[in-house]
Amino acid sequence: MKKLINIVSLMLLSAVMVGCSSFGGGDNGTASNGTAGTNGAANGATTTGIDGGATFSGHVLDDPSSPLSTKVIYFEFDSSAIAPEYEAVVAAHAAYLAANSTVSIVLEGHTDERGTREYNVALSENRAKSVLDLLSLQGVTGSQVDITAYGEEKPAALGHDEQSWQLNRRVELVYPAH
């Protein structure tokens, strides 16, 4: 038997309880996911190495040798176009989602701090939509995908230079159940 205790959304002082949907926590699938072995969370597939040597026995989404382990896509300034280097990453996620129709994903769009805040919210939504469009083209159904547009409000890096900005212009692919 497997028990999944999911503590969501503890809100204090006068606010109402809300439902959880799209909080993934951090970047790059850092959510802890049980112990090693032939385990995969609720909806996951399991990988096993067959040629000896190094094997990866965690969840396929965490396999460092798989493009699925990449869960952040970076963008150019003021652009929502997906760079060619990320096409394989998006394709891998699309294939995974298409093969696992009960799995859902949240695309969290972000921008750097330049430009006005509400405009950046819209720009970050456009970035997430670029990823959504590519996923849809590869067979992912719309109901599997949710978008949250954060604009510049949740920076990954706090500096005020290009080094930080390039880390902040991003879409995070968050699997809420993972």
Binding site: S14, V18, R117, E118, A149, L158
Partner: protein, 432 residues
Amino acid sequence: MQHLIKLAFLILLSVTCYAQAAPLQIEITQGVASAQPIAVVPFSVGANVGVVNVDVAAIIAGDLSRSGRFKTLARTDILNRPLTADQVNFRSWQALGQDNLVIGSISKEPNGQLSVQFQLFDVYKGEQLTGFKIPTDAKNLRGVAHRISDLIYEKLTGQKGAFSTRIAYVTSRVNIAGKIEYKIQVADADGYGPRTIVTSSEPLMSPAWTSKGDKISYVSYERGRSSIYTQTLSTGQRTKLRSFKGINGAPAWSPDDSQMALTLSKDGNANIYIYNVITGAFRRLTNSYAIDTEPSWSPDGRQILFTSGRGGKPQLYQISVNGGRASRVTREGGYNARGRYAPDGKSIVMVHRVGKKYQIGSLNLKTGFTSVLTKGNLDESPTFAPNGSMILYSTKDGLKSILAAVSSDGKVKQKFRLQGGEVREPAWSPFK
């Protein structure tokens, strides 16, 4: 058996009526030589008044000098302190180069109530320009001081004073748990007495006053997506506006508070909508495939100014509240966004890119001339004082985001410093 305990997220959200917070510090960074000299004599306190820990004269002097229109005489140069009009020796104030003089007193009335009395004099004519006696209690002395500043300012400039107004803004700081904590605070226009009205572990943004000034609308991500809330300041109670899939942002109240302009992306991409408070209906105002956002109402309530990417780069456009064709307003520069009308409707301020710098620009709608008011790299969110005299905005001070103010002619500048944390997105309240 396997136990998988997963803490998906912990939202700490509190909505409060008023909680005290760290005070703001104001520093005038640029003044004008042409400022009018004025002496504000420390107010006398009646023997039976008791302990008064508010320096009324200092607050008035601070208000007047921050406006940039006045140069107040340093207290160390105020050698004689007349208590009544007949004690005033106008010649000695002329010798000190003062145009105007303010004297006043705090006294206790026979009924036990406190009152503050002040008189404003023209030093050269040797006559009183105005004078009032204002009943109050010890708790409201600071408010009375700002009202006196308003009366003096209006008498001497012909323009209504905005010292009794308030400002709202967003703060964020990393808490002890290493997570960003977002707040919206409200303070007096001089930065005094900041109070937190809402706290969240998810982003809060875009605070907007109702035109009546009794409520603030803002965007909160506490539900994992953006929603607009409207909170009554006196009670701390709030209501959530019906929210839609996608963006729910950029709230802006009409001058009569009967409608709210906002940004929704429910029909595809970000466009401007008008929410009617009475009918509860949402009406789509703009219809473009590019980003349309950041609406602002013209003071007469007939036009909406907004940012659009329809021309390739963000520029400001204007559209009738009833719809129709939008016309481009900004022509100068490759980036103009988040415009706000001046209270007289004759100019707008906006974020204007100069080279690689985002600065505050002011566009005269009659002449079409754009002037750059600030010098920062990442200046944003300009908001007019309700009398149009000053523009508050956010800027970077080193690595931190702080608030700064500039007079509408660009001549007077000041910085507001809050202890710890980032301060941004100021919104100046309307007149009370």
